[in-house]
């Protein structure tokens, strides 16, 4: 009897293992056209290279995914799921829902060359508690996108220092042009401006300390950031009524030639070009230096893939992660995405001046911040960005806002 049971269990084991070994379930939030195409491509390629694996791919709506991932990691875990680097993955790591993949990062035999070496600059943002929790596959730069023709018409050259930048704003304002456009209805655009002012005034380490809750918001260094911000907000260099506009709606004044600059991520280039701007009148420059001597760190939000700790087919999942980290694969994905590969050995799409500028900037970057709402915990980020928006509409309330944020900080990080 015992033998029968054992053999039954063994048979079941064999059956179940064979039925699982070949299927790799992947959940992604790539509902937009380009990301969807990119994943279609890599999944096809992965299946070609690994004929023993059949991929089952579930595409979730981009916004809905943020809710769904919380459910499916617990109840119906896939073998691979995409997400974001930095503090965004912290809740899942802390709840034990993501698998530790440090071995992929360490084992140089698995990939072409050593992962840690090829992706050294992105390793920090994948590390929590000394371990790596996923593989980054794409990122993009932030900076200032501007109207070249408006700059030329007003005799402005690309500013590299804060004083030049403020002077450029003053010239534009005097010419009846809104210097900087922004749409803050969904709040996060304000964090881009804050992050850059902070990175340039106080540097990367302070940015991390602040987002990790180690410094109070009433700190003089934070005040210094707002002093710089005052120089832009008080003379009215930002678009009026920004609180009513989404980031896309705020592109319109720039397309119409009513606004000259936008502190934005590279994803703004596509809609701007669709609206009629060309390489000849749309340009990009690095956010100018504020405190001389502080090494230039940049914002480069990174997209990642992870293995849920409750995944059924971790062997193939690891193969997929290693595949995703390869230079040739990242090159192809990012050609489709129009973004930048993480792997140093990947080449960037030719003939795109924005990607070329971004790659050049990020390769020389001192460090990469993920963005305020990915580096800071969600609750802090939401209150912080609300505060930034309120400040941009009412610069006089700065003190009150910072005191409120300090209260939130003490609650969130306790």
């Amino acid at each position: 009897m015992k033998k029968v049971i054992i053999s039954l269990i063994m048979m079941f084991g064999i059956i179940s293992s064979t039925s699982f070994a070949g299927t790799l379930v992947i959940n992604t939030d790539t509902s937009d056209a380009a990301p969807k195409e990119a994943f279609e491509y890599i999944i096809k390629k992965f299946e070609e290279e690994n004929p023993d694996v059949t991929v089952k791919w579930n595409v979730f709506d981009h916004e809905g995914y943020k809710q769904s991932i919380r459910n499916f990691l617990n109840t119906d875990p896939p073998d691979v799921a995409n997400w974001y680097a930095g503090n965004r993955m912290l809740p899942f790591v802390r709840a034990g829902l993501f698998e530790d993949v440090s071995d992929i990062w360490k084992d140089s035999g698995w990939v072409d060359g050593n992962l840690s070496e090829n992706m050294e600059h992105a390793k920090k943002s994948m590390t929590i508690g000394g371990k790596q929790w996923g593989i980054p596959y794409t990122y993009y730069q932030w900076g200032v996108y501007y109207r070249k023709d408006l700059f030329t018409a007003n005799g402005i050259s690309v500013p590299t220092t804060w004083d030049d930048f403020v002077a450029a704003c003053a010239t534009l304002k005097a010419a009846g042009i809104t210097p900087i456009t922004i749409g803050s209805k969904y709040l996060w655009t304000t964090a881009g401006v804050f992050d850059y002012l902070n990175l340039r005034t106080n540097g990367y380490e302070f940015h991390m300390d602040l987002t990790l809750g180690k410094v109070p918001y009433t700190d003089p260094k934070v005040q210094a950031v707002f002093d710089k911000w005052d120089e832009l907000v008080k003379p009215g260099y930002f678009l009026e009524n920004h609180a009513a506009l989404s980031w896309q709606e705020a592109l319109t004044p720039m397309v119409n030639g009513e606004a000259a600059m936008y502190v934005m991520g590279n994803f703004a280039v596509a809609p701007l070009k669709e609206a009629g701007l060309r390489d000849s009148n749309l340009g990009f420059f690095q956010f100018p230096e504020i405190t001389p001597g502080i090494p230039m760190a940049e914002e480069a939000p990174t997209d990642t893939v992870h293995i849920p700790s409750k995944a059924k087919n971790k062997t193939d999942a690891k193969r997929f992660l290693i595949f995703m980290s390869r230079a040739d694969v990242q090159e192809e994905i990012n050609k489709i995405l129009g973004q930048l590969p993480i792997n140093k050995n990947s080449k960037v799409k030719k003939g795109d001046p924005f990607l070329a500028a971004g790659l050049n900037m990020l390769n020389n970057a001192y460090a990469m911040a993920q963005f305020y709402d990915r580096d800071a915990p969600a609750q802090m980020a939401s209150e912080g960005m609300k505060g930034f928006q309120e400040y941009m509409s009412n610069p006089d309330r700065r003190q009150k806002i910072l005191e409120r944020l300090e209260k939130v900080r003490q609650r969130v990080y306790k």
């Binding site: 919380r70 709840a95 803050s184 009524n241 609180a243 009513a244 969600a378 928006q389 509409s393």
Partner: protein, 306 residues
């Protein structure tokens, strides 16, 4: 004799209790589902409000901490105050709806079409109305921009200003709510007793007098219903806020229902305990109102029966 007695006893027990039991049997399916999906969640939610929980990690009992924090939360008071604004200004839907109903309650060629056009806003989804009004309010581009320019408010954005955003949303919310009240009053006007009006006319009542003393009292039920749905609509004003401002600028157009969602379930939230505490406060406010409503209904029915 004894045997006969016990037999008749058994029969009489069922007969005696049949009338009492059968309504419960018929009510049972409804009651069971109502308690599982409505009553139980209320208590679960109140229970969660004493915990700190992000929906993933284990929850932690914190006692009244969430409520204490609520008392010190600026945004909570803003939301509460906005709820009050909603309650007051949303009520405009009742008199405006009544006015339109009386205006439309005539027999002219094509009145049916006109009536249905007036009722149309109620049929469109709230989301669509919210979106359209957001476009109306768009500074410089929206349809109302030329009028704002006339009164010297060039480039003024109603939804980006902390003082006007809530009123902008309430105004958009009134659009379908007026239509709802309108239809309630139109059906009410259909049921008006023409003899009473005739009698009133004979006694020399005219115009406003006739309306106030004879028509309006007969519309009592419609008015009651209109007020009830409007109050509930005001308290659960969620979709308009979500579509038009997301509580912005910086939380100044938030209402309790949306603030609860923002804290408990939005991208940056997942404070289930805190969200539940807000929900409990909102529930308490609604409970007062619902109890009053039930009491009035009970009283009215007793009056009608007498």
């Amino acid at each position: 004799m004894e045997l006969n007695n016990s037999k008749s006893k058994r029969i009489t027990w069922w007969q005696r209790n049949q009338v009492k039991i059968s309504p419960w049997i018929f009510l049972a399916p409804g009651l069971i589902f109502f308690s599982i999906y409505v009553i139980a969640p209320i208590f679960v939610s109140i229970g969660i409000s004493f915990y700190q929980w992000d929906g993933l990690s284990p929850s932690m009992y914190v006692g009244l901490q969430n409520y204490i924090e609520l008392l010190d939360d600026e945004y909570f008071y803003i939301s509460l105050w906005n709820n009050l604004k909603w309650l007051i200004f949303f009520m405009l839907a009742v008199p405006i709806g009544l006015g339109l109903a009386i205006f439309l309650n005539q027999i002219v060629f094509g009145i049916r079409l006109i009536k249905s056009l007036f009722f149309f806003p109620f049929v469109i989804s709230q989301v669509v109305i919210g979106l359209i009004f957001t476009w109306f309010y768009q500074p410089n581009y929206g349809v109302i921009a030329p009028f704002l320019n006339l009164i010297g408010l060039e480039g003024f954005s109603i939804l980006a200003n902390e003082n006007t955003a809530t009123y902008g949303i309430i105004f958009a919310g009134l659009y379908p709510q007026i239509a709802y009240c309108l239809i309630l009053y139109l059906t009410g006007l259909n049921n008006i007793n023409p003899e009473q009006i005739e009698a009133g006319r004979m006694d020399g009542a005219k115009g406003f007098h006739l309306f106030w003393n004879i028509v309006l009292p007969q519309l009592r039920h419609a008015t009651f219903l209109a007020v009830v749905v409007t109050v509930i609509g005001a308290l659960r004003s969620f979709d308009m806020v979500a579509i038009m401002t997301q509580g912005g600028p910086y939380g100044y157009s938030n209402v309790l229902a949306y603030y609860m969602f923002e804290q408990a379930l939005s991208e940056y939230g997942y404070r289930m305990g805190y969200g539940s505490a807000i929900a409990t406060v909102l529930f308490t406010i609604m409970m007062f109102y619902i109890l009053f409503f039930i009491y009035r209904m009970y009283r009215n029915e007793r009056e009608d029966n007498n």
